[in-house]
């Protein structure tokens, strides 16, 4: 490995055009749930593709399971790898704002993905999904399809800004529709928690017309509980983020799972590709790039089904 490295450096020294090698550091949360797993999958694939297409680009990919470790990772990247650009999905906004600002001040290009920093204007490029539209799109569907007085239960994710924005969007879309949210609790984006929660709600409410599970992992748990109670005919379940099992059910026109809302984990690819393009081509890339949440319906489900994705 080292030999090859030395050889390439020597070769590069010989070539007439001084092709400077650029290093991109990527720091994302570890694969602790399905969506983050897919994030890792897409990040690795993009790095692989770009490394092949672009021998001058080097990548440092780290995954972290808590904000403290992410700060250390970032420091290591700057100190030992001398990165030219950073693509980071901050684990939490507040604790990472300072460290990322220092990196940006040192002249490194910073792309922030999905979770915004606590202060504006630090990053060069911001790539994110739209949490408000994620909730609003689902809420709009509920408002459009359900009758006035319909009863809905809502499973929230892990208590966080992301979750709050989604729920706010959902509630805003329901406003004035007469649809009643009878219960709302945290399923923590976890199948088992969602299963237990749904079981208990089914015991508690004789009438439920729809479930907003806000994430497909929770939708899987909720569906199993509804199935067990034999109340599948009574309600529909809308998850989110486009897990392939759910998309599969939608394209088969399953009445229990009529639609889904996207929140593509492949946005990390968008961020890495745009950063790499900015570094290598000089095309202007600064600004914000917001990926809208789309409604997956039986008609367009085929476009959202990715066979080899783990999610």
């Amino acid at each position: 490995m080292k030999k090859i490295l030395i050889a390439t450096t020597a070769l590069m020294g010989l070539t007439a055009v001084p092709a400077l090698s650029e290093t991109i550091g990527i720091s994302i949360p570890a694969a602790t749930h399905g969506w983050a797993g897919a994030l890792n999958f897409h990040a690795e694939r993009t790095v692989e593709r770009l490394s092949e297409a672009n021998p001058d680009l080097e990548f440092v990919l780290t995954t972290t399971s808590d904000p403290g470790q992410q700060v250390s990772d970032l420091e290591d990247m700057v100190a030992t790898r001398g990165i030219d650009a950073l693509v980071v999905l901050p684990f939490e906004s507040e604790p990472l704002t300072g460290p990322i600002q220092r990196i940006a001040d040192s002249g490194v290009w910073v792309t922030v993905v999905d979770r915004g920093l606590a202060q504006e204007g630090i990053e060069n490029l911001y790539v994110a999904g739209d949490n408000d539209s994620f909730g609003r799109t689902a809420g709009q569907y509920f408002a459009d399809t359900l009758d006035e007085g319909a009863k809905v239960v809502v499973m929230r994710g892990i208590a966080s800004t992301v979750d709050n924005e989604r729920v706010a969007g959902f509630e805003a879309a329901l406003e004035g529709s007469g649809v009643e949210v009878v219960a709302m609790d945290h399923g923590n984006w976890n199948r088992d928690t969602a299963f237990n929660l749904m079981q208990d709600w089914l015991s508690r409410f004789p009438e439920i017309d729809a479930v907003w599970a806000a994430d497909d992992d929770m939708a899987v748990g909720a569906l199993a509980a509804i199935d067990q109670a034999g109340r599948t005919e009574e309600m529909f379940v809308v998850g989110g983020a486009g897990m392939k099992e759910m998309v599969d059910r939608i394209r088969n026109s399953d009445p229990t799972v009529p639609v889904n809302v996207t929140y593509p984990p492949s946005m990390i690819s968008t961020a890495i590709e745009m950063t790499a393009l900015g570094l290598t081509s000089g095309a202007p890339m600064s600004g914000e790039f917001i990926i809208a949440s789309e409604l997956i319906t039986p008609e367009n489900a085929e476009d959202f089904y990715f066979e080899d994705s783990p999610y």
Binding site: A30, A31, T32, H33, G34, A36, G37, A38, N40, F41, R156, A159, A183, M184, D185, H186, N190, R191, D192, F195, N196, L197, Q199, D200, W201, L202, S203, R204, D217, V220, G221, A224, Q228, A229, E245, S309, P310, Y311
Partner: protein
Amino acid sequence: MSMATTAPTRRPRVNLAVIAPIVALIVLILIGMALNPNFLSYANITNVLARSAFIGIIAIGMTFVITAGGLDLSVGSMAAFVAGLMILVMNMLTESMGGGLPVILIGIALALFTGLAAGFVNGILITRAGIEAFILTLGTMGIYRSLVTWLADGGTLSLGYEMRELYRPVYYDGILGISWPIIVFAVLAILGEIVMRHTAFGRHCAAIGSNEKVARYSSVAVLRVRLMTYVLLGTLVGIAVVMYVPRLGSASATTGLLWELEAIAAVIIGGTLLKGGFGRVWGTVVGVLILSLIGNLLNLTDFVSPYLNGAIQGVVIILAVVLQRNTGAAR
């Protein structure tokens, strides 16, 4: 309250300690009945008992480990790893063997064996290499958790549809309206209680936990008994997984998260001493039911903000233990 009754007789104090967890359980049930008429419905009771089974089965094994003065933090991750491996192998076998009952039986055998082996690894390293149980199982906890994440490629391992349908009845069906997880949990609890009370193994666990040196001088095979407690726990983790996988047919990095702490909490609420030397399996069963019921009650009402669920659980755990320590500290 106990000041007035510091009478020479110790009997009533011990009795209070014995019934404390049961009192807590009854109070919870009464609260449940008052809050929601559906609380005592067949469906709700079945749900609560069946979902308690996983932690319950593991907690039975944990009772023996803790009684013998040990601890195992790895069981939650171990369960996730065993579940992941089981699903992976069953999916592979479905492709090569075409599915059917043999695949399920092999899957079950694999889960039991992997659990046993994992427990053996924990036990042998603790007893022969002399590593502190806390540190060693903290290490294996991380290892199993990473392994399942790696097996699942960061995502979720799901059992093939056909197998899931075939295996499903193991969680959802049963005899006379009592589902299998409840039956297995009940049978194991009764067996566990008998082993703890009426066999040499159970008494040896208590002897080692209360004083290892004395136990050794009394010719108790300390290392072997200790090892056996971990092997037993590992096997019970395997059984819990056999019951868990048919429920949702999937395993991921979040499977079994914090199960180890819930199991330990249940054991302690049930009256087993954390420092070892005394354990009771029926108490553990009550402890598991208390923990499940709290979650159930909070879901059945809007009484408390969902943000405070953890706080309520914490308060009940502490109260249940304080009640026992104050009344039966003599143990």
